[in-house]
């Protein structure tokens, strides 16, 4: 008896040690990933509160002797030419991203609904054509779009960017939303229609509210994509007053190559809106991916 109990308990401790081994490996790995992820961001923040002189010291000041918010003040001061530019880029980015987001939801929702509910000829072909868009790099479309935008008279306008950005967001948006609509029982709509609702009413009153998380995820994705986009903005816009943030910052700092605190402060402020937006709404995003994309 006692021997059996002994072996059993020894077995248990051994198993616990094995499990603990994996758990420790996991913890160490997570600590490493946290360092890898966070150190660059922390270093960006620390640099951004240094003076230009303090940033260019060797060995570096791990924490600035005299922390200063001068870089931020300069960027946010509308009296100053740097601040004027930065704020204008910021508003341009906000405008382009917001319009893109609204339009892509308006376009993606009905399309995803149709792909999920109707079976019209060519549906699969069209669906994959939409998905395949994801495969092709911006550069392929750059030259022809450059010419197209000139023909349409959209060169140097935000319209050229909005039209282009719409197509980035759409494939994933449609894919995610379709997953959502597949999950909403058709019976709900049928019940509403028996009660006298039109297809459109059933869609607006029943389906739309149920797919809100999907719509939010779609919106975040479009917004972040548009906010961060660089290559088209770099190619289509040349007037300083129209630049969006990524291009504006790049252009500004290719002229002022040594202002590292300013560059880091600008990078930080460019990241804040999307990071905040994402952190606030991330649970929708992860849920949408789970339900829409990786559903079994």
């Amino acid at each position: 008896m006692s021997t059996i109990a002994e072996t059993a308990s020894r077995d248990r401790t051994r198993r616990r040690m094995r499990v603990d081994g994996w758990r420790w490996a996991g913890r160490i790995f997570l600590a490493f990933m946290l360092l890898y992820t966070a150190v660059p961001m922390i270093w960006m923040l620390i640099t951004s509160i240094k003076s230009g002189f303090a940033a260019t010291q060797f060995p570096p000041q791990w924490w600035p002797d005299e922390p200063t918010l001068a870089s931020y003040q300069k960027l946010l001061d509308p009296q100053n030419s740097v601040g004027q530019d930065f704020l204008r880029f910021f508003w341009n980015s906000l405008f382009v991203s917001t319009v893109t987001t609204i339009l892509s939801v308006i376009v993606a929702v009905p399309a995803a609904y149709a792909f999920s509910r109707f079976s019209f000829p060519g549906r699969n072909f069209l669906f994959f054509a939409v998905l395949l868009r994801n495969m092709f790099p911006a550069v392929i479309f750059l030259v022809p779009l450059f010419i197209l935008m000139r023909v349409l008279g959209l060169m140097n306008t935000h319209g050229s960017l909005i039209l282009t950005y719409l197509t980035f967001g759409l494939p994933l948006a449609i894919w995610l939303l379709k997953g959502f609509y597949d999950n909403i029982p058709v019976q709900l709509e049928q019940a509403a229609r028996i009660d006298g609702a039109t297809r459109f009413q059933a869609f607006i009153l029943i389906v739309m509210p149920l797919s809100t998380p999907g719509i939010i995820a779609t919106a975040i994705y479009s917004f972040i994509g548009a906010w961060n986009e660089y290559i088209y903005a770099y190619t289509f816009l040349s007037k300083n007053e129209q630049l969006t943030l990524p291009v504006g910052i790049q252009r500004f700092f290719s002229e002022n190559t040594t202002d590292f605190p300013g560059l880091m402060a600008a990078s930080f402020m460019m990241s804040v809106p999307v990071v905040v937006l994402f952190l606030v709404l991330q649970r929708y995003f992860v849920r949408a991916l789970t339900e829409g994309a990786v559903k079994h």
């Binding site: 376009v107 109707f118 392929i140 943030l245």
Partner: protein, 319 residues
């Protein structure tokens, strides 16, 4: 996957005879209204550019965009590309860049997802922190890392010198042999969170009962992972890897901003090279021919992508 049911259904509706197709298109005419806006945008911004790129690739084009003066030269642009030395350097770089970034991002992302799967205090905060690099603009990321790699004031160089591992800060991105790996590190920094999110979502679909049953049967942690979890995640993994591969193949911002392809083409990948040919040297015809080659490569990848997406379907369809 979700597309699964779709294709089977469509096949069913399409089956009754050819003449039915036109009628069925007519019967479903209202359905097209829903997809029309999406398709219209796609046609303008995708179909037309693709057609135009292919056309341009057979022409010799004068610099400047006076494209009316182009002359037809057949496959000359293609031979120019394939016989140039730069092409092979750039192709090799693209291969290393794409494979390195994709595989390491996937492995790191998957491992992080597994490590985060267990409940513990601070898990939510940790997860959110790890996702941030993916959300940050690639332009910001490039500048942050350029500063970190800086040859005089960079933090990595300072740490290496501080630990006595180097006499003076190494020059990471102005050195032909270290530039590409250095850029890949930046790219992975931005991309592993995507793999992590996808795999976390995938992990939630692994049935708990199966894992518990395996545990009761005496399977250890590794066996449970290898025989239960991993097979369940195969489709998600394939889709994630393909999406990463395509994104990496198409990346532009990090090499462009951090090095501009230099030093001596050591960090030029296809996309940056095409961009430089087109907008830097204004060789529109050659750049278009390059784009077509790129396009063909991506079509091949795309074929596997669609196969991976519809893989389930066929299995379910036959069952």
């Amino acid at each position: 996957m979700t597309i699964v049911t779709g294709k089977a259904e469509a096949r069913r509706t399409l089956q009754p005879g050819r003449p039915g197709v036109l009628r069925s298109i007519w019967e479903h005419r209202a359905d097209y209204a829903y997809v029309l806006p999406a398709i219209a945008v796609m046609l303008i911004v995708i179909a037309y550019p693709i057609y135009y790129t292919i056309e341009l690739s057979f022409f010799k084009t004068p610099p400047g965009l006076q494209l009316r003066d182009k002359t037809f030269i057949g496959f000359d642009n293609y031979t120019t590309i394939l016989t140039s030395e730069v092409f092979w350097t750039v192709t090799w770089n693209t291969l290393i860049w794409t494979l390195g970034s994709t595989l390491i991002s996937f492995v790191l992302g998957f491992a992080t997802a597994l490590a985060l799967h267990r409940e513990f205090i601070g898990r939510g905060v940790l997860r959110a922190t790890l996702i941030i690099p993916w959300v940050i603009s690639a332009v910001a990321a490039s500048y942050i890392w350029k500063w970190i790699y800086h040859s005089d004031f960079g933090i990595i160089g300072a740490v290496l010198v501080g630990l006595g591992l180097a006499d003076r800060p190494p020059n990471f991105i102005d050195n032909v042999s270290t530039v590409l790996p250095s850029l890949i590190v930046v790219n992975i920094w931005r991309e592993f969170p995507f793999a992590m999110i996808m795999m976390m979502a995938g992990l939630q679909t692994v049935p708990d009962q199966l894992l518990r049953a395996a545990k009761v049967d005496g399977a250890n942690a590794w066996q449970r992972f290898w025989h239960v979890t991993f097979p369940h995640l195969r489709n998600v993994s394939v889709v994630t890897i393909l999406l990463l591969a395509v994104a990496n193949f198409n990346s532009f911002i990090i090499p462009w901003i951090m090095t501009g392809g230099g030093p001596s083409n050591a960090s030029h990948i296809w996309i940056t090279h095409i961009y430089e040919l087109a907008f830097g040297r204004q060789r529109w015809g050659v750049a278009s021919a390059y784009s077509v080659l790129l396009f063909l490569t991506l079509m091949t990848l795309g074929y596997f992508y669609v196969r991976a997406l519809t893989g389930n379907e066929r299995k379910e369809g036959s069952a």
